[in-house]
């Protein structure tokens, strides 16, 4: 094409068109973010949902509140709006809290509190999450904070302010002394030793392990954990693969695993899609060994990605939402309110919502919203039940912390047979504790 000189007027028109396309894209993105962070106002059982357009993602927030309540209990939430596990958490809170408020609120010491949840996008990075936490503490003046994997970045702020935080984070740093007001409610820390211990005890022929994890922070941590557990149980990791996050074709990886001659294959931290694709590739490559996942594998979510024949025989903890005997009462309540709000239960992860269940149990037991008294209740070894299962708060002597701070899960171990879980073992807290005692040298 032969060019010609461009006039200032034409330049402005072209720049305008390009800017409009870009602006429309960004605006659309902001609209979507705003819709994700929709403001939900619940008042006397009536729910109104209005979309708010966020000016920037870092300040986008959503509020679930009851305007009629005289003194709402303010709970701050730090999450990453673009992270699927956190979107699941956000959706579950958006379903649970309005339903709780509609039923009269949370009864603490005989007083019904309406609950207001204020969410901010911490993006799982230091800058955004710290500023969001500062805003929660100084502007919103929340009573409690539910945190995520970004807790390391802002924990000094909350500890200094004596702000009670319940986080779901596998980082051991947040549980180390002198931290006293931070608790961990997820199952990533203390469930692996229990699940792997049970599997190893009942499969003494398993000596060689093949493991694949995403090559990111958590994947590397899981790879180290797998090695540690193997050592405890007299096994050897004969094949360890760290694949780039986003890998879709696992065929060659599966061939390498099959050729390794391992007795068992394990994977986690890749998310449902990657884990499911790995199992499928392994199945297609002719894997004859055992499968074990020490973090709960969801048959429902996995089956949405690949046919269940690909993970037939896997041994794994079972979430309370997927028990073969039917979900527990707490799990069923979540499924019901979630289905009522979003139309269907699509097997979202219940990892992060555990922090709400721990806080709820602590508040109900303490009978007060005084953070120190609530912390004292948790420090006393509080037991709580979530949509995932039953947990008990325990100390972490391996981290030098003799204060109760982490969640120990009384897991239900199952095995997938004909595409459905069958229960192998309902573990007690003592049994789960003993497996961890052995693995973590408590």
């Amino acid at each position: 094409m032969e060019g010609r000189q461009i006039s200032r007027r034409e330049f402005l028109k072209i720049a305008g068109a390009a800017g409009a396309a870009l602006g429309l894209g960004i605006g659309f993105g902001g609209l979507a973010t705003g819709c994700e962070a929709a403001e939900t106002t619940t008042s006397a059982g009536q729910t109104t949902t209005t979309a708010t357009v966020a000016t920037t993602a870092s300040t986008a927030g959503s509020t679930t509140s009851v305007s009629a309540a005289p003194a709402p209990l303010k709970i701050g939430m730090i999450l990453d709006y673009s992270f699927p596990l956190h979107v699941a958490w956000q959706h579950q809170m958006d379903a649970l809290i309005p339903a709780l408020n509609a039923n009269g609120g949370l009864k603490i010491g005989g007083t019904p509190y309406q609950v207001e949840v204020i969410m901010y996008d911490g993006k799982r990075n230091a800058e955004a999450s710290r500023s969001a936490v500062q805003r929660l503490m100084t502007e919103d003046k929340v009573n409690f904070i539910l945190g995520d994997e970004s807790t390391d970045y802002w924990q000094p702020l909350t500890e200094a302010a004596n702000q009670l935080v319940i986080s779901v984070s596998p980082s051991p740093e947040i549980l180390k002394p002198p931290n006293k007001m931070t608790f961990q409610s997820g199952y990533l820390n203390l469930q692996p030793a229990a699940a792997w211990g049970y599997f190893s005890e009942n499969n003494p022929d398993v000596k060689k392990i093949a493991a694949a994890h995403p090559d990111n922070l958590q994947g590397n941590a899981e790879a180290a954990k797998t090695k540690g557990l193997a050592e405890v149980w007299g096994q050897e990791v004969v094949k360890e693969i760290l694949y780039p996050a986003g890998t879709t074709d696992f065929s060659a990886i599966a061939t390498a695993i099959v050729d390794s001659g391992a007795d068992v294959f394990t994977t986690c931290a890749g998310g449902t899609v990657s884990d499911a694709q790995l199992y499928k590739a392994l199945h297609q490559a002719g894997w004859k060994g055992k499968l074990c996942a020490y973090i709960a594998w969801s048959v429902g979510a996995g089956s949405a990605v690949v046919p269940p024949e690909n993970f037939e025989g896997i041994t794994s903890p079972i979430q309370a939402t997927e028990l073969p005997t039917g979900p527990t009462a707490v799990a069923k309540e979540l499924i019901d309110v979630y289905t009522a709000k979003f139309g269907k239960w699509d097997y979202p992860s219940t990892l992060h919502v555990n922090n709400w269940y721990l806080l709820k149990a602590a508040l109900e037991t303490a009978g007060t919203i005084d953070p120190q008294k609530v912390a004292d209740v948790i420090h006393g070894g509080l037991e709580f039940e979530s949509a995932y299962g039953k947990a008990k708060m325990v100390p972490r002597p391996d981290l030098g912390n003799n204060l109760v701070c982490d969640a120990l899960w009384a897991i239900v171990v199952g095995k997938v047979e004909n595409g459905r879980y069958v229960v192998l073992k309902e573990m007690t807290f003592d049994e789960a504790y003993n497996y961890n005692k052995k693995a973590l040298k408590w």
Partner: protein, 294 residues
């Protein structure tokens, strides 16, 4: 070891051919209307989501789902050209403007998909889930289907570009739009056709991969890998797209097995870098100043 090498070859071939399809589509868009189409990966992702939607919620056949994916992505590609790129197309020095417009389109399509489909991954029932074993080599029939479909579509594309009036017109426009116009070729229409064909190829690639790898929003990130494949094979070169796609598939397959998963991607980048040092336009491509030869 012989069995493993053959196994890895088949794995690499099926993966590589999908990138060949996408690279061919990307090449059409870059060579004919000269658009560095940043949003290309979104069309791959949308093709996969259409297949999921038609097959799972709508409960229709895969044989309806694939044409639906191709048609919808083709229409979206055409609309993208008419609404976003055409106003910029016949003006001079619009390289950066095109890229910015493409980024805007990428954000629009990505966020629209997020709002429509949500963040969770989805599976698509496989047409043929069986695996057959030949001399110890396990061959997944769904991969055989991908290989065959890809070869048929590539042959059809070759036929269209070489043997049809439209194909010849597109090639003429890719050389010199002004000279082609003197011969009665409507360059604007050829730009539109190239966009439609290119996006349809991306949609088709997404459609055939959906049953194998599932469907999620992250699929759009493959668009950047396609750009690398095109750079390796040669920007604007169809044989280069085939070569680049196959080199990519084989590098990943053999690399994942022998040197590790992450390392194989580094190896691929190293191969691209080494080739571009000596052949700045890619293995079979022209230098960047001469882009525009299908």
């Amino acid at each position: 070891m012989g069995r493993t090498l053959v196994q890895l070859f088949i794995d690499g071939l099926s993966m590589g051919l999908v990138y060949v399809l996408m690279s061919s589509g990307f090449n059409l868009v870059i060579a004919v209307p000269n658009i560095i189409f940043i949003a290309f990966g979104e069309f791959y992702m949308l093709g996969a989501f259409v297949v999921w939607y038609v097959q799972v919620p709508a409960g229709l056949s895969y044989f309806i789902a694939v044409p639906a994916a191709v048609i919808i992505t083709a229409i979206l590609g055409g609309l993208s050209y008419l609404l976003v790129f055409r106003p910029l197309q016949f003006r001079r020095n619009q390289f950066l403007t095109n890229i910015i417009a493409g980024v805007g389109l990428m954000l629009i399509l990505g966020q629209a998909a997020l709002m429509m489909f949500g963040t969770e991954a989805r599976g698509v029932p496989s047409l043929v889930s069986k695996v057959c074993e030949v001399l110890g080599v396990r061959i997944s029939l769904e991969k055989v289907v991908v290989i065959l479909l890809s070869v048929v579509v590539l042959a059809a594309l070759h036929f269209v570009l070489r043997r049809t009036r439209t194909g010849r017109a597109m090639r003429a426009v890719s050389f010199r739009p002004d000279v082609a116009a003197l011969q009665g070729v409507n360059a604007d229409r050829m730009f539109l056709v190239a966009m439609i064909l290119g996006c349809a190829l991306a949609g088709f690639a997404g459609a055939v991969m959906a049953p194998i790898f599932g469907v999620d929003l992250g699929m759009a990130e493959n668009g950047f890998l396609v750009m690398l494949v095109v750079m390796l094979g040669g920007i604007g070169s169809m044989p280069g797209a085939i070569l680049g796609g196959l080199v990519f598939g084989m590098t990943l397959s053999y690399g994942q097995y022998f040197i590790g998963s992450g390392e194989s991607q580094i190896l691929f980048f190293a191969v691209i870098l080494a080739i571009l040092l000596f052949k700045p336009g890619g293995i079979l491509g022209k230098n960047i100043e001469e882009i525009g030869h299908v």
